[in-house]
Amino acid sequence: MDTSGQLAAHFFREHSGRMVASLARVYGMTHLDTILDAVQDTFETAVTNWRYHGPPDHPRAWLSQVARNKLINALKRQARHSHATEAEAPLLALSTTDPDPVLADEAPTDGQIQLLVACCHPVLSERDRILITLHILCGFGVPELANALQLNQEAVKKALQRCKALLRQKSPKLGQYSLAAAAQQLPTVCTILYLLFNEGYKATRNSKGIDFDLCYEALRLAKLVRPVATPEAEVDALLALMFFGVARFPARLAAYGDWIPLEEQDRSLWNTALIAEGFHYLDQAKRSGYAGRYYLEALIASLHCAAPHFAATDWKTIHDLYQLLENIEPASTLIRLNRLIAQSYAQGPLPVITELATFTVDGSPGAAFLLAATKGHVYQRAGHAAQARAAYEEALHLAQNPLDSQLIRKRMEATIL
């Protein structure tokens, strides 16, 4: 803490994951619920106290000490109620005045990586993995989770219960994930971080458009696992992709935006420092010699970031990169649509109209919206006003949020003129 009495931004949220990880490492995942309660209780004590006196000189140490004492007392209470097994006896014999294993935990980062790997266990659904990661590693409470992932609070509570039960069962000891073993799991973890970032970025939830908190946490966790990741996890490429994404946040918001109005974005609003950060990680990814999905996506994002204005975009290369991506992920509607958009700029709208006309998407309303919006845009640029209007009408019905509707209406007005 500095002398101004200010805590670092998101200090509680980040320290929450760190404390849970350290405590779970020492006392075991079987006590996960008690650990989470003790950590929550610790923050409540901090609010009661620090509100009056300001944070202590060493807030980390203060929180760790209080959390550990609360946990030991809770475990002792539980042991009195249900006879403690012999295996647990040595832990309970710890007095609250003994040296603190949490403070003494010299590798809090390792603990967090192991906990993150446990939270991304393949036995959980992708949605559940995102939920439990945000809850346990990022200190998101039930109302925040419900808001971020557009679920009702009861559904979130039930999902968390289910996840915690599975975690206790599947990962009783965090130590089972040696760092080498954890590193093997990182490609799966990175998929979850990628999805988490997109949850924040795709903006289907609220009128403010982008949920910065989700993107911020995805970035933080990606940086956390970076030191132990193997090239196959593509962490550097993922970080590059995320930085290129957040660099363009301000312009996207100003332009009511998603990927179509890239054309309209005021590029002077792009954050050049974050773009530089993106290029740094892209360079690191290049050195790793492994070019997977995230690397290709990061390269595409870098080309957009490198173009001084929309007309200067290197659509030919972007189109080729999307084709490579399509080979890796042939089933992805989003990649195919993006390839078609790139093609429509590289070769003109006419060559892609035939393919768009026969393009159908299954189920997902989000994908159906993007397809209709893309059709409208391509028809519009080809001068087919009637078809453009019909496609935009369809898109309006499928719009997922106010920003989407607003964007389509603007485009429809442009079609009339």
């Binding site: 009495g5 200010q6 805590l7 998101h10 200090f11 509680f12 949220r13 929450s16 929550q40 923050f43 409540e44 901090a46 609010v47 009661t48 106290n49 620090w50 509100r51 009056y52 006196h53 300001g54 944070p55 200190g139 998101f140 409470g141 039930v142 109302p143 925040e144 908190d213």
Partner: protein, 114 residues
């Protein structure tokens, strides 16, 4: 300059507050107290432990908390410095606790007669 006691009354249940909100609560208070200090309107403040006892009457009947019939209880106090009750009320209105729907009570501390 007169002294005023400001009692904070709240439902001592933060269960619905997230880590981020709790941090925001601390920071708002810290900044607020700093501005009071700068203006010379702050004397002291202390939180109160949740536990305690209630002792009543000649029989000295002791009972544990909670201390109020309702769910709210006094969670802490401030001693404010102001020229008048009106000014003390204006100061108290700035207490960030009110943003979390807590209640504050402001009372002048009766000065000792010379």
């Amino acid at each position: 300059m007169k002294e005023f006691l400001m009692l904070i009354r709240e439902d001592a249940n933060y269960g619905e507050l997230s880590a981020e909100e709790m941090q925001a609560c601390i920071e708002k208070h810290y900044r607020w107290v700093e501005t009071l200090r700068e203006k010379g309107q702050f004397k002291e403040a202390q939180p109160l432990e949740a536990g305690g006892a209630h002792i009543r009457g000649k029989q000295r009947i002791v009972s544990d908390g909670p201390f109020l019939e309702g769910k709210e209880c006094v969670s802490g106090y401030y001693i404010l410095l102001a020229e008048s009750l009106e000014e003390a009320i204006e100061i108290a209105k700035g207490n960030p606790d009110l943003d979390w729907d807590r209640a504050v009570e402001v009372r002048e501390i009766m000065p000792m007669e010379d």
